[in-house]
């Protein structure tokens, strides 16, 4: 058989690529000086695999060990997620190249990278459970890396809730197996058990930070160190949303439910982001809102997640060097050029200014939706402009001398520009301009984007006017009891909605 050998080797390559981060992490523990290079190598391998899938040189289906074995799907759907994983992880490694890193940071980053790559390509519930738990545990340890008392609590909360919902996810998997005799995603499509679907969704919704299940996200993402926040907000949330979108493609009953939850999440995140007074928490609330938009369309969601994750990683990486986290009086505090420009470009990409990647993503998303949803997304986009407008308008610090950041107290001054941030900003510009010509009607899309910007600016001035006596006080829903209750409410609600 002539075609047998290349297929075999391609399969071997996929396995080697998935194993590489874990082997590299082990090697990095033995040989710490190599850790940075090994981490970069893992990211490069993932990027190479993404390109190979796009070019069609890898088999779409990789079945390991027959009918009951693990099924992987290296298809076009996984490409944006894999690229995002490679981009954000490599940017974090490059950004921290000159700084001494706390002990196992790079090792954990490699494990996280490997877990994420696997989560994007697995096609059965049990493998998905294992990869999500690997991602969860390594994210937990990464949050703990700063070793403050506050991070202890935040990390504990994250893992406690994460493990609880993943246990519920396992019950869903068992119910699917009981009925269909298989753990594959195709078996989920054939299941008639409403409880199984609801339990699986509870797990995935929490991991992707959507709606009430995602209320853990702002505190966690805001309290983690900047590099870890970039990883969490950039890629870790997509580990939940990619399988969620895959399932919503295969299971018709889930489509409208996920759309509804996505829209609710977009609005919820937006309202809280508008009301929050802390820069990092604003970014985290905006992640919750943007993930809601990703969940709206399985077709356009991948590229949207890629553009949002890249931009959000830029914002969190420069958040390390903000002069302070309070948004009160933001316009009076000058920012150095190495913060000002990435902050502008990153936020402008998220609000969808051409020719950045966010513009193409938003145009794609609108094209994939029905008219009422498209209108809703446009309104949410205006709100997003109002959220990010609070970052604009800070004066540029006209000083070439390197500025000492917040966290690096009395140590050597940092370079004014971080190479990792530059890489991400370049990716935003290149992806945006490369996809610009393929837009169906560029003129109307640009006009719409300008309209959204203007409307958003108007909303921003309106909200700023309202803000004076702290009138926008929203309920605090982020206590542990609220989060656990939220899981219960979402689960019960899903049961009711799916039962109709």
């Amino acid at each position: 058989m002539p075609s047998f050998m290349p297929l075999l080797s391609a399969k071997g390559m996929v396995i080697a690529w998935l194993l590489l981060p874990f082997l590299a992490a082990f090697l990095a523990a033995v040989l710490p000086p190599l850790a940075r290079w090994l981490a970069l190598l893992c990211c490069l391998a993932t990027a190479a695999v993404a390109v190979a899938i796009q070019l069609g040189s890898l088999p779409v289906n990789v079945d390991l060990l027959g009918a009951y074995g693990v099924a992987l799907k290296t298809d076009a759907f996984a490409v944006p997620f894999l690229l995002l994983n490679a981009l954000v992880c490599s940017a974090v490694v490059i950004d921290s190249w000159e700084r001494p890193l706390p002990g196992p940071f790079l090792l954990l980053l490699m494990v996280l990278h490997g877990g994420l790559s696997s989560a994007f390509v697995v096609m059965d519930l049990v493998s998905l459970y294992v990869t999500l738990e690997v991602v969860g545990i390594s994210a937990f340890l990464l949050i703990l890396i700063s070793r403050s008392d506050r991070s202890l609590w935040v990390a504990l909360r994250y893992l406690l809730i994460g493990n609880t919902v993943m246990t519920l996810f396992l019950i869903g998997a068992a119910l699917v197996y009981l009925e269909r005799g298989s753990f594959r995603f195709e078996a989920v499509a054939g299941t008639t058990s409403i409880a199984a679907l609801a339990l699986l969704l509870v797990g995935l919704l929490m991991k992707s930070g959507l709606f009430l299940s995602g209320l853990w996200l702002p505190v966690t993402h805001a309290e983690a160190p900047a590099e870890v926040s970039a990883l969490l907000s950039g890629v870790v949330v997509t580990a939940g949303i990619a399988p969620l979108l895959r399932l919503s493609c295969g299971v018709p009953a889930l489509g409208p439910v996920i759309t509804g939850i996505g829209l609710a999440s977009a609005v919820l995140g937006l309202v809280f982001a508008l009301a929050d007074a802390d820069a990092k928490r604003l970014l985290a609330w905006s992640t919750l809102s943007q993930m809601g938009l990703v969940a709206l369309s399985p077709v356009a969601g991948g590229f949207y997640a890629l553009s949002h994750g890249t931009a959000k990683a830029v914002l969190f990486l420069v958040a390390r060097r903000f002069p302070g986290r309070a948004l009160q009086g933001w316009r009076e505090r000058p920012l150095p050029a190495g913060v000002w420009w990435p902050l502008c470009i990153g936020s402008l990409s998220i609000v969808g200014l051409p020719p950045l990647a966010g513009f193409a993503a938003k145009t794609d998303l609108s094209g994939a939706l029905s008219l009422p949803l498209e209108v809703a997304v446009t309104l949410v986009s205006m709100g997003t402009v109002a959220v990010y407008a609070r970052f604009w308008g800070a004066p540029l610090l006209h000083r070439t001398a390197p500025v000492v950041g917040l966290s690096s107290g009395g140590e050597a001054p940092e370079p004014a520009w971080s190479l990792g941030v530059i890489l991400l900003v370049l990716a935003l510009v290149v992806m945006g301009s490369a996809t610009l010509p393929s837009t169906a009607s560029p003129f109307s899309a640009v006009a719409k984007s300008a309209m959204v910007l203007l409307g958003g600016w108007g909303l921003h001035t309106l909200v700023e006017g309202l803000r004076l006596p702290e009138r926008l006080r929203l309920p605090d829903l982020e206590g542990l009891s609220d989060l656990l209750g939220g899981i219960g409410v979402v689960g019960a609600g899903l049961l009711l909605i799916l039962n109709r």
């Binding site: 009951y68 294992v130 937990f140 008392d149 893992l159 246990t167 068992a174 982020e478 542990l480």
Partner: protein
Amino acid sequence: MAPFRLLELLILGAVLAGFAGLLLRRNLFLKVMSMDVIGSAVVALFVLVGARSGLRSPILSAAGPGPAGTGTAVASATDAAAATAWADPIPQAVILTAIVIGLSIQALLLVVITRLSRIDPGLDLASFDTGGQR
């Protein structure tokens, strides 16, 4: 099928009890223990799912044909009856991984709780949980 339903209900009861404990207990240690109750119930569920077709361990031995052996069908009637009562190995194999993951998460959480007990030895939720405030 009645015993299967009964055991299923017991497991559901254990999951609900664990979730209630997670929600209502004020002590962090007891919260983690409640999470473990849910975990144990899930393990029991997988064992139950594996045992729905029979209880005999599907181990391929040199002496007799295993579950995959084709010789069983032509053997005596008692053997044929026994051959249908093999336990399903797939859920059991799967839950082994979940047990290991559950154990390691339990260990990690307990380490963090040990560290947190320096702040409040009573481990009361209210001393740590500040909601959205910093």
